[in-house]
């Protein structure tokens, strides 16, 4: 079992991939390291959100993903 990191919207292009599988557990510093410097820089911005297991984290720096969880990286939205 692993933690799946999913890149949404423009972060997919920045990462050059749709998803990345890493060994769990995964915390904030582990996430920053796993995604590479370009995506990590974006994650530092307040307007980029992180969801874990289908819930948006109110404080993304307290990420604590277990094996089997999906961690979604959510850039600013543009609907309608």
């Amino acid at each position: 079992m692993t933690v799946t990191i999913l890149f949404l919207g423009p972060l997919r292009d920045l990462a050059g991939k749709q998803l990345l599988e890493v060994e769990g557990p995964l915390d904030w510093s582990g996430l920053l390291e796993a995604v590479g410097p370009d995506v990590a820089e974006q994650l530092g911005e307040q307007r980029v959100n992180v969801a874990c297991a289908g819930k948006v984290l109110s404080d993304k720096t307290r990420l604590n993903a277990e094996d089997g969880d999906e961690v979604a990286l959510l850039p600013p939205v543009s609907g309608g």
Partner: protein, 155 residues
């Protein structure tokens, strides 16, 4: 052809292909027989410069649940009889419908305000990402400051 059935009081959908506006509004109207007024808004892909296509992507665990919460908030805030919130995902071409919102209320001002509220929130708070294909390829669309000013009106 099976008749379109509308969930009441809230019908919230993500659609991966074209939507029939007339059929949806007729069914929504029929489902809200007690309402004094129905307001609808149809958002379309603007034929703009060299934009050839537009693509909306979503995130399954968040997008539809978030739209449902938004519809519930609108119903409570504006005392709606019902609301229809349909959003396209996938690839669309200029002139195609992207979003259809309809609100039914006892009085027209609630229905107008609720449709406006729903649209402002769909534009800048729904979990959707938009990109455009122009002559030189795909470009992600950043949210505009205007969109955030629109949503701030409701705080």
């Amino acid at each position: 052809m099976a008749r379109l059935t509308i969930d009441t009081p809230l019908d919230v959908r993500l659609l991966d292909k074209g939507l029939s506006v007339g059929e949806a509004l007729a069914a929504f109207n029929a489902a809200n027989g007690e309402a004094g007024g129905v307001v609808s808004f149809l958002g379309k892909v603007r034929p703009d410069g060299d934009v050839r296509a537009l693509e909306l992507s979503h995130y399954e665990p968040l997008t539809l649940p978030g739209m449902r919460e938004l519809a519930e908030a609108a119903r409570d805030r504006f005392a709606l009889d019902g609301a229809l919130v349909w959003h396209r995902i996938g690839v669309m071409t200029p002139g195609e419908a992207i979003v259809l919102v309809a609100t039914a209320a006892r009085h027209r001002r609630d229905a107008f305000a609720a449709a406006d509220y729903l649209m402002d929130h769909l534009k800048s708070a729904a979990w959707l990402w938009k990109r455009e294909r122009r002559a030189d390829g795909w470009h992600w669309i950043e949210p505009r400051r205007h969109d955030h000013e629109d949503i701030a009106r409701w705080e």
